[in-house]
């Protein structure tokens, strides 16, 4: 729980024809994190074709499922085998055919919609043209010297088209606009129409079919429009049988496709990480937990009966940065893990801060927002919204409980300080003590982070930094000495002399280490050493004082409650009650939110930044289905 599980690097060599089953077996095993293959002798990439076919098929299936809806939960039989490349190619081909049919339907539907809007535009156009005293049938005559066409083009291209057409003696007359489409008449010498054809196609010009009877027989034009519309309606009903009947027609086969692609996923994903091979041999590389070794061998023996070669080794110091971190958390701790991972993933071998984070976060939240009533509201709300909040509800419940506990310690319930007696102290009546305790807690917290950092550095092989750096044991010695001196000055302890010696020793060691580490000229080295050593002292001092905010917020909580009471007491009965309720809501929402963020901030900046690099890799095992 406090550290990632020890992992082993494994190379699994097997027959290329069984690679998909090996990957499937590893996915079923559930704790194999694939990694790039690094065997110099195996220079080919054997599963690339498989991966490409899978990716294509998966994409097509996703698009088809989007069209026909989910086919329900997928159950993968225990004995099911992964498809071969040939199976996958065949499946991919079938999915392509179905999706192409769907696309054709899409296209024709879009075309029908487009035609429909064109008919609308034409109808409007006809109405406008009817009012003009122009004999269009005469204008549109095919044997006329004047070539005229009516149509539409995007409004953005109108100016350019007009200028270009002017070069060929054509005129553009715009008469309507619907959305981004401009409707216009283009007229010019019929002899030069060939010159403008390419230009008009390039400009996206769409000609409107205008019936000859338009001017002379308006009734016929109406009838023609009606007939066109009926034809379109019939088409739109008929064209999309493939898509509409997708679920009925292909439902079972799509379900089967989903299953086969789920079975093929492990090899495709392992190939994405980087597999290698040569001839009939394929190698799968990756990481597995050391304690799962026996189970892995048993699983492979059951499936392959010795037709494999398994090579295992400990991670080398040089590859520690590439080793993923697999940490197992108890159920109650899991909701806090995303809050830690939003800062970063612990490196392999590094101290995992999830447990101290959860405990300290709750402690800080409770201390800053200690109130039985407010805590109970947070707890009940989180429980009520558990379904919506998921695991995060547990963080709310735990924070509410911490708030209740501190509420009893402080004797505070909905801001009332006189209903229950404090079990420990009342922040309002003993603020100095609260401040002292907060700083004391800060000292303890910083000591812990310095120890954790020294441990992490030592584990990573940076023993010098672990022992002598400002964030290592030398920094800790200085810090403890400095705290002792300050405590003696305030009269809280009487250890001034040994503490000063300790602090002096610590800071001298830190300075010597900084001097050793600074690879620069003499002047720069002096400057770097002086500034970094001074920074060590300032940082530790300011970080400690930062914890005074814990006390400040616990006082703030009481002060806010007092403000609410003062306001409420100046009002009549109903308004008094209303103000109290509203004031408490404001305290819970506003101050609760601020305290939640402040506690997180203290953890991230005064805690994690001191010992947690957060640049590790998460253990992502091969799985049959991605969540």
């Amino acid at each position: 729980m406090l550290r990632a599980e020890p992992l082993l690097k494994m190379q699994l060599l097997m027959l290329a024809s069984e690679a998909q089953d090996a990957a499937l077996a590893l996915a079923r095993f559930g704790v194999f994190n694939p990694a790039p293959c690094a065997l110099d002798t195996l220079t080919e990439s054997p599963a690339v074709a498989y991966r490409d076919a899978w990716l294509e098929a998966e994409t097509r299936l996703a698009k088809l499922l989007e069209q026909c809806g989910d086919t329900g939960p997928l159950e993968i039989p225990v004995e099911a085998e992964a498809p071969t490349l040939a199976d996958l190619e065949e499946l991919n081909g079938w999915l392509k055919d179905v999706w192409t049919a769907c696309l054709a339907c899409h296209e024709s539907e879009a075309q029908i919609t487009d035609e429909g809007s064109h008919l609308d535009a034409l109808e409007e156009t006809l109405a406008k043209l009817e009012r003009l005293n122009v004999d269009l049938s005469h204008l549109l005559r095919a044997d006329s010297l004047l070539g005229v066409s009516i149509g539409s083009l995007p409004v953005t291209g109108l100016k350019r088209v007009t200028e270009a057409l002017a070069m060929t003696g054509h005129l553009v007359s715009r008469f309507d606009q619907v959305g981004e489409q401009v409707f216009a008449v283009i007229a010019g010498p019929r002899t030069r129409q060939d010159e403008v054809r390419g230009l008009l196609a390039q400009a996206g010009w769409r000609e409107l079919p205008v019936p000859d009877e338009l001017r002379t027989h308006p009734q016929a034009a109406r009838a023609w429009l009606k007939q066109e519309r009926t034809q379109l309606d019939t088409q739109s009903g008929a064209t999309c049988q493939t898509r509409d009947g997708l679920r009925e027609q292909f439902g079972p086969r799509l379900r089967e496709a989903r299953l086969r692609l789920a079975l093929a996923r492990p090899l495709a994903e392992a190939s994405l990480a980087g597999m290698c091979g040569k001839g009939g041999l394929t190698a799968l590389s990756g990481w597995i937990p050391k304690r799962q070794l026996k189970a892995l061998r048993a699983a492979l023996d059951t499936r392959f009966h010795g037709r494999y070669w398994l090579e295992l080794r400990e991670p080398t110091p040089g590859e520690v940065a590439d080793v993923p971190s697999l940490v197992r958390y108890p159920g109650w701790l899991k909701p806090f893990v995303p809050l830690v991972k939003s800062y970063g993933v612990p490196r392999y071998g590094e101290f995992d801060p999830a447990l101290p984070f959860a405990l300290t976060y709750l402690l800080l939240f409770g201390a800053m927002f200690g109130d039985v009533g407010h805590g109970a509201v947070i707890l009940l709300l989180s429980a009520a919204l558990a379904r919506r909040l998921g695991r995060m509800a547990w963080v709310g419940i735990a924070a509410g409980a911490a708030s209740i506990v501190f509420g009893f310690f402080y004797g505070s319930i909905f801001g009332f300080e006189d209903i229950i007696a404090p079990l420990w102290l009342s922040p309002l009546h003993d603020p100095v003590r609260v401040l002292t305790i907060a700083v004391g807690f800060g000292v303890g917290f910083i000591v812990f982070t310095l120890l954790a950092n020294a441990w992490n550095k030592a584990v990573a092989g940076h023993v010098g930094e672990a022992l002598f750096d400002s964030t290592g044991l030398a920094g800790l010695v200085f810090y403890l000495g400095a705290v002792g001196v300050l405590a003696s000055l305030t009269g809280a302890a009487d250890v001034a002399r040994p503490a000063a010696l300790l602090a002096g020793l610590g800071i001298v060691v830190v300075a010597a280490f900084k001097w050793y580490e600074a690879k620069a000229g003499l002047g720069e080295r002096i400057l770097v050493t002086a500034i970094e050593t001074l920074e060590t002292a300032i940082n530790l001092f300011s970080n400690t004082l930062s914890f005074m905010r814990v006390a400040a917020f616990s006082l703030n909580h009481v002060a806010l409650a007092l403000a609410v009471f003062t306001l409420a007491n100046g009002l009549e009965a109903a308004a008094h009650g209303f103000t109290l309720v509203l004031g408490n809501i404001v305290i819970i929402v506003l101050e609760g939110g601020i305290v939640a963020i402040q506690a997180l901030r203290l953890m991230y900046y005064e805690g994690f930044s001191r010992f947690f690099s957060g640049d590790g890799r998460e253990f992502v095992p091969l799985r049959l289905e991605r969540g």
């Binding site: 294509e56 899409h106 995007p154 270009a164 070069m167 390419g198 196609a201 390039q202």
Partner: protein
């Protein structure tokens, strides 16, 4: 912020290649090539040229690595920028993504598999706005265009889509995409031209005038398109070659006639040029000279940053030509000839 950009541009300008540096790169022995590239701050171009990087799993092509370098430097330069300046330089990088769009469209036309198309795309890093995986898995050109039309380049793609639907001609698509991109660039440049004045405007004028003249010549005399269509395909311009001038030029019947009808200053610049590549090279050279002038002047930082990027891209293209030439085993003289690079001097 301005001091940051100023310093950055000044530091970066030290990375530019003089012609003698390129000449030296042509002649450098094979075993010293890696060192030369490292010294010039281009270690990522080493892959395949030295033993240490030979085993690196960098599958990017030389072209992709050069673009990655340009994108890296652009990212650093836009860091202190906001508003119009940032939008402009970000859009300046979008031409690589438009090139990716063209690659995807061609792959759909030829029925290429998605993985093969994806491998040829230029990784855009933080400048990437398209979901290449999704686009590469579109079934055909129609589906791809529909997906693109719902994305960040809708303004450019919609027009190309409509043109393609009318003509089903791949040329229409490419031409519409190119024009759409440069129209977008000139739109984004307009507020900067007003704010930054002549230095920035001169860079844009050189760029757009060159594009328009070369496209005009190519469309008119290589593709034999009618004048009206040629004019329609050019970028809307407010620079030296105005709309009226472009209409007049497009109506002419030969390369010589077009060159003779150019403004006098242009004729002087293009004297002796006999073909379209020659026009491009000469105009690019003039543009580089102007960019160098802006870079070395006390012009606004944004204009200097743009000038640097123009020059840097020209340099890296020349480096690519040298590396390719060497890789193909061409003689030094042939590589120098292929570079077609005249020395750039500030007048």
């Amino acid at each position: 912020m301005s001091a940051y950009l100023n310093t950055r541009v000044s530091l970066y300008s030290g990375r530019l290649w003089r012609d003698e540096d390129l000449d030296a790169l042509v002649g450098v022995p094979d075993d010293a090539l890696a060192d030369t590239l490292v010294q010039r701050g281009l270690p990522q171009l080493l892959v395949g040229y030295d033993s240490q990087t030979a085993r690196q799993q960098d599958t990017r092509s030389l072209e992709q690595r050069i673009i990655a370098q340009i994108l890296d430097e652009t990212r650093v330069l836009i860091r202190p920028l906001s508003g119009d300046g940032r939008a402009f330089l970000t859009f300046w990088t979008a031409r690589f993504e438009i090139s990716n769009v063209k690659t995807l469209l061609r792959s759909k036309m030829t029925g290429e598999r998605p993985a093969a198309a994806l491998a040829r795309l230029t990784p855009m890093g933080t400048f990437g706005r398209l979901d290449n995986q999704d686009l590469a898995h579109a079934e055909d050109v129609g589906e791809l265009l529909r997906r693109l039309a719902a994305g960040p380049y809708a303004g450019i793609v919609n027009h190309a889509r409509r043109a393609f639907e009318q003509s089903h001609d791949p040329f229409s698509l490419d031409a519409a995409l190119d024009r759409g991109y440069y129209d977008g660039l000139t739109q984004r440049a307009q507020p900067l031209e007003e704010a930054l004045g002549a230095p920035f405007r001169s860079l844009m004028a050189n760029l757009i005038d060159r594009i328009n003249l070369v496209w005009l010549l190519r469309y008119r005399f290589n593709y034999r398109l009618p004048p009206a269509q040629v004019y329609y395909l050019l970028v809307g311009s407010r620079y030296s070659l105005s709309a009226t001038r472009l209409q007049e030029l497009a109506a002419l019947d030969s390369l010589e006639a077009v060159l003779a009808a150019l403004p006098a200053a242009w004729q002087a610049r293009l004297s002796g040029v006999i073909d379209i590549p020659g026009v491009f090279t000469r105009m690019e050279h003039d543009a580089a000279e102007q960019a160098l002038r802006v870079l070395r002047s006390s012009a606004p930082d944004m204009a200097r940053a743009f000038a640097y990027l123009i020059l840097r891209e020209r340099d890296l293209r020349a480096v690519r030509a040298v590396l390719r030439g060497r890789h193909l085993g061409l003689a030094g003289a042939d590589i120098r000839l292929a570079l077609q690079r005249e020395p750039v001097e500030v007048m």
